[in-house]
Amino acid sequence: MSLLEAIKEFYFSMGFSAMTWQEGVMILTSFVLIYLALKKGFEPLLLLPIAFGMLLANLPLAGLNAEPIYQVAIDPVTGEHIHEMVNTGGLLYWLYKGVKLGIYPPLIFLGVGAMTDFGPLIANPKSILLGAAAQFGIFTTFLGALALNFIPGISFTIREAASIGIIGGADGPTAIFLASKLAPHLLGPIAVAAYSYMALVPMIQPPIMKALTTKAEREIIMEQLRPVSKTERIIFPIMVTVVVSLVLPAAASLVGMLMLGNLLREASTMQNTLLRLMKTAEGELMNIVVIFLGVTVGATAKGELFLSPKTLAIIALGLIAFSIGTATGVLFGKIMCKLSGGKVNPLIGSAGVSAVPMAARVSQKVGQEANPSNFLLMHAMGPNVAGVIGSAVAAGVLLSMCNL
């Protein structure tokens, strides 16, 4: 072999020679996302792994997403036909199994449960309704996506529309869970849209909240929440698990793990040994899963799939979903304000979209702008954590009704 041939051969084994324009664009997109995560602080915890996964998946010839290759062989001893693994497949292919089989999102929920204080919700059960009202965003967007089918050139199936709608739940793990079951090919754009909009909650929500409420309503100061007893805190997760799983078995894995995490948290004050489990659930386990989930979800964004008009439609619909969820939450808050004789500040309604605790912070901030002595944070945490349960329930409904 001459030197020239050797160089030529090496050239063709390099990524440069095999790169398509889509892969080039995706690599640049991943740079932008890394910039947004690091410099602008857009949910860096997830967006950075997602962006890096996107980068890895679009490197030509690296084969990180490659499926294993099997060969039919005859077992020399038994003479039976067996599958022999010829190529083990790529790293990300195997890590992605956790997404595909629906393992990572419930594990994240375990950690979320261990970190969440459901006290404000237990203290003020009525606030749970606001968490339900904000789920209108999910279903309106679902209908919106189906209505787009009337425009020639765009076609969403019911399963795809359901996965896009769930962006309105503002709950990353739930969105990934549902999309991986109903429309895995759209997982990349859906996850990117969901996490980007969650990061943008402080910009998306306030204008809507201000447009729908009067200054007098925003100034309403709510009463201090009652203290919640230990018994209530322990019974709550058990009760929610039983009720939700009996009504909606499809939501059992998400809600069940969320509540197991919460039970660990509350029970660790009674049995000190449980503290270890709680620490692991909200710490190391969660961190490990976040890395796996982020990288593999990002890796689903292959150029030829991601760069399509559908992605643009998903990003537009996601924004609509967020806005409608915020609006219906606030409107429902207004109804509750009227019914309670002005005791409920409608601003806590927008916290029903479950971006915890971002949405509650936004309620606090907008409330304090109107009245500096207003403390809505804890009141807004009620609808906020109810929103997590609400969007898991909505995901369960979509999963069982749209799995056609």
Binding site: L129, A132, F139, F142, L146, T231, Q364, F375
Partner: protein
């Protein structure tokens, strides 16, 4: 399925879906109300106690912010320091200045909630 059929099915899913979300969450709200009654049964005295504490806490705050008895405050703070550092240390308090808190508002709220939950 045609577009129209899809949309009609979508409407059905929406109605059923929102119905179930509301039914489940309203159900939970009622159960939480029931839970409150159950877990607070027989602790009626405790309730009045809590009310008392809150009533006491507010005037105390109101008194401490405006012109307070400087000497008394000095004595209390010095005593607390002495107790904390042990009686053997020769501690001289020269001046006591209020430091402006720079914690974000909702860190304050969180702290307040924590205190109330433990009362």
């Amino acid at each position: 399925m045609s577009e129209m059929q899809q949309l009609t099915y979508g409407l059905i899913v929406t109605l059923v879906g929102m119905g179930i979300v509301f039914i489940v969450l309203i159900g939970l709200a009622y159960m939480l109300d029931a839970l409150k009654l159950l877990s607070n049964r027989g602790t009626a005295e405790k309730k009045t106690e809590i009310v008392k504490v809150e009533k006491v806490a507010e005037p105390a705050e109101a008194i401490s912010t405006p012109a307070e008895d400087e000497g008394e405050l000095m004595a209390v703070i010095s005593a607390a320091l002495a107790a904390f550092m042990g009686s053997s240390s020769n501690l001289v308090v020269r001046s006591i200045n209020r430091v402006e808190g720079n914690a974000p508002v909702w860190a304050k709220v969180g702290r307040q909630e924590q205190m109330f939950n433990r009362l």
